[in-house]
Symmetry: C2
DNA sequence: TCGGATGATGTTTACGTAAACATTATCCTT
DNA sequence: AAGGATAATGTTTACGTAAACATCATCCGA
């Protein structure tokens, strides 16, 4: 619709700064618009009415141009566009939202961006949402109590949000149902609330099974496990699959060692395991804890993978550069984010509320150098 | 409008799993409100008018109650509150924003949440903003081109946002000035645009100086450096301070090795450095690259810190569990986030637009086990 | 040449909130 | 007891947008 119209008869004295140059014709004129009111505080926003006045049309016509509706003659459209540029007009999304009852915004509730998984998932959510014209509103929860979760959902309900994606431990989700206003859709990550909500998640069990099988296939008699925190559904799920896989194979199930995702907890577990003579293989519920294990074994002179094999979970970028490079379960966080957005948008478009169901993203195993067959002398 | 719909008169067999549990007195009544319109699509939102009607007052009184204004007699207030609960009323933030011309939202523009620093900073921003009643709207930029940055700022301008925090490489900031509507405030991280914007950042130079001094004080003749990407202001700044510190001390300045923040690039640099006989100390521009260095040195049989000392930058949680635990410059990302929010709020409240200036957060050195005096035979 | 179809544009209205102003009831002072 | 202050509540209006409807001009076919 653009530059070829440049010769409509507006006037001679307005500096037409959009002659043919590539980018952003906005810059020069926006500045000009700003200087309209010389002394005092300029009017904060430029509204359609302002544009309409300058262009000599009704504000409805401005609206039509703004939204690309048909039925505006080219010369008029050009005049309006020129006026928009001149004044630096931007549509006011609050008014739009009020009008439409829709905000084009997705709320995300989560505990911490500190964990790799969360931040990558959020990033993917933001990226895909942006591609669909949605923005992301973030509410982090510092202390994970039911009250705080409830509060976050309440705030989301008050905010201009069409849907909520909650990346949240399941046990905190119990009382939440009713706090959201009707019409707001929910998708949940890291939870098995598939009976109540749309759930998207990495297929934790699948990943854990891959890890354990890999170690068993290498000839290890059994596999020890360092768990994530008890409050995490992902951790629980991985531990369950670890146990199930061992049991299916008829292997003894050693007592799981409690961890909390941190390298420190992995280190502590590693110190304990270094003293277990029968231990030749460990599956850590995430890469950080695997890192702690590696360091503990290194300190205690237990070589990896010579004496002990270690498998992690997540495949954080660094894990390929651990000493030794870590064999780990690869999670596709980007895909999780993508599917969250897809689900949420489907709900918004259907007008349907969160329909229960679980959407699992498969994992894969990144085999590197922290795993090997057990040492010859090991109890097999 | 989700699960609470489940017990509108569908049938009796739905298990009521929320009888009498602790929180949310809202639950029961919110559900009632939902069933108002039996057949068709219920009215999406409950407005003040609805509450007013039910409470038998004017909507203005509801507004007063909603905002905690004085001048409402207790009995009336109670009636209104009851009606609010009954209907599950929530203020509509879009209408509010339209009315006030303020959105209580801060926009954050950034490249990637994948880097530890960014995600921690964003988290801190979100937390502190939330404490002040502000929400965060996130726009990530997948491909860092000027056009995309411009686009992100433009979108922010259209969104309901009172201010923008940009965590962005400086060189992409050039054309941006004019794209934001007047009245939107800007704070920038990771940039030296202090002449044009409010800048908050870690004191990169201070941190780099600490790292280099530490190594020189241990007796190393000079310090090698693995840089971050050329596009990063932080990387540039660290490299500059590294060079300056060496020059001040009258030491030779070895050629810097190019990195890109990734462990892989650190690894590559490490392989190169392992062949440099004179190299006894390396300062990596971040911890990931330091990790790569450690692995390369380990592979090449160069002991750390026996033969070579390594210092990183960031102090990511894992770095204490590297082999060996990494001496590194600690960045206070949370403080950076806090100050961003403080600056932005100050601007909003002053009504002043972004006033130039730079606010630097100091660093500290976390001394661990990857640094030691140079080996006895080393050239000194 | 006229009636009606079509296309371009204008006018009215509602979205939900809250400031500004208007009204009514109540209580105190003299 | 009357007048005036004060407190409690109601009414009107504007915020910026866009759907719905209304108006006007133009063009076409019979």
């Amino acid at each position: 619709m653009g530059a070829e119209q440049a010769d409509t008869p507006i006037s001679g004295d307005v500096p037409r700064d959009d002659r043919e140059h590539t980018g952003t014709p906005i810059s020069g004129s926006a500045r000009r618009g700003g200087s309209d009111i010389p002394g005092g505080r300029r009017k904060q926003r430029v509204s359609m009415a302002d544009v309409a006045k300058l262009a000599g049309v009704s504000s409805q016509t401005v609206s039509r141009v703004s939204n690309g509706h048909p039925g505006v003659i080219d010369s008029t459209r050009e005049q309006v566009l020129a006026a928009m540029r001149e004044l630096g007009y931007r549509p006011n999304s609050a008014a739009r939202a009020l009008r439409y009852g829709q905000f084009n915004t997705i709320g995300v509730i989560l505990f911490s961006l500190a964990s790799t998984g969360n931040s990558r998932t959020v990033e993917a959510i933001a990226t895909h949402a942006a591609a669909e014209g949605y923005a992301i509103t973030l509410i982090p929860i510092d202390v994970p109590t039911q009250d705080n979760v409830l509060g976050a959902f309440t705030r989301m309900g008050e905010l201009a949000v069409d849907a909520v994606i909650a990346i949240i431990e399941i046990y905190l989700l119990d009382t939440v149902t009713v706090t959201l206003p009707p019409g707001v859709h929910v998708v949940v990550v890291d939870s098995d609330a598939g009976d109540r909500y749309s759930v998207v998640d990495t297929d934790q069990a699948d990943g854990a099974r891959r890890a354990v099988r890999h170690l068993l296939d290498l000839g290890h008699r059994t596999v020890w496990h360092v768990t994530g925190p008890r409050t995490s559904y992902a951790a629980l799920s991985r531990a369950r699959a670890w146990r199930a896989t061992l049991e299916e194979a008829g292997r003894p199930v050693p007592p799981p060692l409690p961890g909390d995702w941190s390298a420190g907890s992995g280190y502590a577990a590693g110190l304990a395991l270094a003293g277990e003579p029968g231990c030749t293989a460990v599956f850590a519920a995430n890469d950080q804890m695997a890192l702690g294990l590696l360091r503990a074994f290194h300190e205690r002179g237990r070589t990896v993978p010579g004496e002990i094999s270690v498998v992690g979970f997540d495949d954080i970028p660094d894990s390929a550069y651990f000493v030794p490079p870590l064999t780990t379960v690869h999670q596709d966080f980007a895909e999780v984010g993508r599917r969250c957005v897809r689900q949420v948008l489907a709900q918004i478009r259907d007008g349907q509320s969160s329909r229960p169901g679980t959407d699992l993203v498969p994992t894969s195993l990144a085999v590197r150098q922290s795993t090997a067959p057990p040492p010859a002398g090991a109890t097999s």
